[in-house]
């Protein structure tokens, strides 16, 4: 396997996760619990879609087959998508969305901290910009973890349920394969073992303060590395890609 292939695959993993979670968050537009939080969450969604745009554009350049970020976003099918399973899980209630976002924000925070010093200059530049955004996202979701977890009985139960449902999708965030190995050797990719240690520490810390229990279930769901997704991604893509595919090449 050459580095170009590995880099393309790696950029898809990063870009697809940002695109899909960005799209999921955008589904809250106009439905947030209060106006201010609605705006806040959509700001976050926009940050992720912006991040995905940059990563997929770069992925297209690395691939060298003249596909741009729109081609990659709108003309690939489910099995070609490399986003983490946690990012495609449905929003559920607001507590579930916060649980999903918190678990993913902590991951993003430590992953992109590593990627800031990637030897790939373009990736390092994207990571530097993204890390600033993610720092804010994490601050925002952490506050909501405390607020809901240590709030009323109902908010606590809802948040704990959200965490319980999503927990089985967290372990694949740290799975590494031959693509990672090749790129870590080159100093391009992040060592996810290191990210995992930081992630576990931070999650434990915030859970303790939010009075949320770490789930004891040992079942682990994986598959996104091979494009095997949960039943939810197809529906998401159908909605996200509909206009682009119905009006190919449309300009406005």
């Amino acid at each position: 396997m050459n580095i170009q292939n590995a880099k393309f695959e790696y950029l898809l993993r990063l870009g697809d996760s940002s695109l899909i979670i960005g799209h999921r968050l955008s589904e809250w537009c106009g439905h947030g619990p209060i106006l201010e939080e609605d705006i806040a969450l959509i700001n976050v969604a926009l940050d992720f879609v912006g991040n995905a745009t940059e990563l997929l554009r770069y992925a297209g350049q690395v691939e060298g087959k003249e596909r741009d970020e729109d081609d990659l976003a709108f003309l690939r099918d489910e099995r070609e998508y490399r986003n983490l399973l946690i990012t495609e899980q449905p929003n559920g209630d607001y507590a579930s969305t916060i649980a999903r976002q918190f678990l993913f924000d902590v991951y993003m925070y430590f992953l992109y901290e590593e990627l800031k010093s990637s030897k790939d200059e373009t990736l390092a530049a994207i990571a530097t910009k993204t890390h600033k955004e993610v720092t804010y996202h994490l601050r925002h979701t952490t506050e909501w973890m405390y607020r809901l977890g240590d709030g009323t009985t109902e908010s606590h139960v809802r948040l704990q349920n959200g965490v319980n449902d999503l927990w089985m999708f967290t372990s694949e965030m740290f799975d590494m394969d031959e693509f990672d190995e090749v790129l870590i050797k080159e100093g391009i990719a992040a060592d996810l073992n290191k990210v995992k240690t930081e992630w576990e520490k931070k999650v434990k810390e915030v859970f303790a303060e939010a009075t949320i229990q770490i789930p004891t279930t040992t079942f682990r769901q994986k598959g996104s590395r091979e494009g095997k997704h949960s039943e939810h991604l197809g529906f998401l893509l159908a909605e996200m890609q509909y206009v682009h595919r119905t009006h190919p090449g449309a300009k406005w």
Binding site: I34, E36, A40, N43, E143, R147
Partner: protein, 95 residues
């Protein structure tokens, strides 16, 4: 319709170093950190500022419209209080 959301906080944003914070609007929030974040998300999305103050609206004491005569009219006929005699040095931007 009465406001059933969270308490109101007034938002002040400083656009550049050295100039006064200017009233930008208000947000609903349960606590100071939430107010600060909501203010950031609602009022600084277009690079409006570099520093934010949030103040519980309930902590602000305002003069009432009836006070207008007694408070402000006496200064109307005292133009000598305006420092028009002084020249403003070049390079002073925000005065």
């Amino acid at each position: 319709m009465s406001d059933t959301q969270l308490p109101v906080w007034e938002v002040f944003i400083q656009a550049n170093p050295g100039i006064a914070h200017k009233h930008a609007g208000n947000v609903h929030a349960a606590d100071a950190e939430m107010a600060l974040q909501n203010a950031r998300d609602v009022y600084s999305r277009r690079s409006e500022g570099m520093n934010i103050w949030v103040v519980p609206a309930s902590a602000i004491t305002a003069s009432s419209p009836e006070d207008q005569g007694a408070f402000f009219e006496p200064s109307n006929d005292k133009p000598y209080r305006h420092p028009t005699f002084y020249k403003i040095p070049k390079g002073v931007k925000y005065l």
